[in-house]
Amino acid sequence: MSLWRTIATRIGYGVLLLLAVLVLNFTLISVAPGDIADSIAGDMGGADAEVMDEIRARYGLDQPFFVQLWRYMSGVFTLDLGYSYFFNTPVTELVLERLPATLLLVFSSQIIAIALGTLLGVMAAKNPTGIVNVVVSFLALFGFAAPVFWTGILLIIAFVSVFPIFPVGGMQDVTVEGGFFIKALDVLYHLILPMITLSSIYLALYSRLARASMQEVLGADYVRTARAKGVPERSVLYKHALKNALGPVITVAGLQFASVISGAVVVETVFSWPGLGTLALQSILARDTPTIMGILFYSSLVVIAFNILTDIVLRLVDPRIKAG
């Protein structure tokens, strides 16, 4: 019962936050120098002030700031995020077409990073003098030090050029024919390198976090109680201790989600993954304001949704966390 109230409260806050994000984004972009008119004029090889004004009038850019903001906001409520000048497509359609690819990349890399990172953390905490501990320390050093684009490029050199095992980029091979299953396998095949690249930083983060958290929990009195009850060691680790140690990992995973999306932008560019990242890059270069705003809107929507999800998961894992 109170769980549903928590969810409702969180969604309420989420909507408010989203509105704030929209206003902030709109203001920031209006303040930035240059607009579509400059970009179109540039493409046309220059235009006089009269033509520029005409273009601005067509896109409503001649209106006062608050009128523009009001128009934009009322559009958002009907999920009309405007029309992309550069792609000649409604922004919503454009973004929704690209969003699944980004979500696939983001979620798969997060799942890998959380699952593998936690497992490594537990194994390292269990045996502080073992090899896994060294692996975790090395991963942490590498993951924090190496920028993702560099990791991506290294992986491309290793597994595309030197050992041609994986495709260089993209999400699908158009020449592959077959049913849904074959196509899905093909996407998975293309997904592997970008997924590894994006998960590398977070694997480092979560494995260190899980190790520290587990080390602390393993010294707790209730772990001794579990052993005194005759609980098998595996169950002591993965049931009694881990459920307590997961809190920090889940919390940080939730906080990091926004940074994962920005990481995805870089990774998508390196691997020409057809997601929001590549779209963002193209629309920024084209000064395609409605598309940029649309991407920001949907990204914040995803981040806020994921944070609500994190809160729910945390509550399910730890009964001490109360609604707030």
Partner: protein
């Protein structure tokens, strides 16, 4: 020497810890025995090896840094020292249950108390989840927790300290163990709750016939509950015998000190108050124990021999055992 083995016998157990300051002999040839239906009290100051004795019986001496160097622990004649981990695990929680000092932190915060009691029943008796939960609820009733069905679904943080310690007792007794080790079960609780917990332990013990090893520094509790008592100091048993003999005629100066340390409430206090006794000094560091008696630096009645040779645990006049040169009749060899 009795003809039959006692239910649980600890014989000459030695536990060493590797510390930064060197090797520490945490338990030095400790021997104890407890029979079915009997309560053995272990008393001593903090750091004298009471809890480590309990952990070594459970096979839970943290290793590293600790290690059971030598000795023997037998439950019904079955040797526990060096037993393989899997067999020992099956004995823990089933044949030997344990209650810890801190009810606040000894229960897992993320599982319901019912689940935590039911778990050991599932583990040791192959019970179905339903049957295990029924047993858990029955155990909650046995430890006198009201509304047991409701409480079984509560998390530890929703219960008071006394309630939690009752839950710990329910966990420890869920599989009807033959030996229950209670490591300072009431230290963290209010005085009134302490009395309730002791009453509960006594009732359950007479119902189930469980042998209890009660670790405490509360001499009053020992006098009230225990049948036999072992006094520990710096990792050694310094005095051992029935409660009557040890408390009425303590031979070791440390035991004498512990007994006189207990404050008494008098209904009609004399105008001139007697001073509360204390044992001067502190428990020595286990890494630099000398050749002699570890208590000698704090002792009021030392003789030359105390500083050079450790006294053995030998029978004194009224047949209880004491490790004290003075009590054993002084300097003669």
């Amino acid at each position: 020497m009795s003809m039959t083995d006692p239910l649980l016998s600890v014989e000459d157990i030695v536990v060493d810890f590797q510390t930064r300051a060197g090797k520490a002999r945490v338990l030095d040839h400790v021997s104890l025995e407890v029979e079915s239906g009997e309560i053995l009290g272990i008393v001593g100051e903090s750091g004298c090896g009471k809890s480590m004795t309990a952990l070594s019986i459970m096979g839970l001496v943290p290793d590293p840094p600790g290690r059971v160097t030598s000795g023997s622990i037998r439950l019904d004649g079955v040797e526990l020292v060096g037993m393989d981990h899997e067999r020992l695990r099956r004995i823990r929680g089933k044949d030997i249950g344990m209650i810890f000092q801190e009810p606040m932190s000894s229960l897992n915060p993320v599982f319901t108390v019912g689940e935590q009691i039911a778990e050991s029943v599932r583990l040791h008796e192959n019970a179905s989840p339903r049957a295990a939960m029924d047993r858990a609820i029955a155990m909650l009733r046995a430890v006198e927790i009201p509304e047991a069905e409701l409480r079984a679904r509560a998390y530890p943080h929703q219960l008071s300290g006394g309630m939690r310690q009752r839950v710990m007792i329910a966990i420890a007794l869920a599989c009807r163990p033959r030996v229950l080790i209670a490591d300072e079960p009431t230290t963290a609780l209010d005085t009134t709750v302490q009395a309730q917990i002791f009453d509960l332990l006594q009732d359950l013990q007479s119902d189930m016939g469980t042998a209890i090893i009660l670790i405490t520094h509360d001499m009053g509790a020992i006098a009230e509950l225990a049948d036999t008592v072992a006094v520990m100091y710096a990792g050694r048993v310094v005095e051992k015998g029935t409660v009557e003999t040890v408390l009425s005629s303590p031979q070791h100066p440390y035991t004498q000190g512990l007994i006189t340390c207990v404050p008494h409430l008098e209904p009609d206090p004399p105008a001139e108050r007697s001073e509360l006794m204390e044992i001067p000094g502190v428990v020595p560091a286990l890494t630099d124990l000398g050749r002699g008696c570890a208590f000698a630096p704090r002792c009021r009645a030392t003789i030359d021999r105390c500083g050079v040779e450790k006294p053995a645990l030998l029978p004194s006049e009224d047949a209880h055992l004491t490790a004290c040169w003075v009590a054993q009749g002084g300097a003669q060899r």
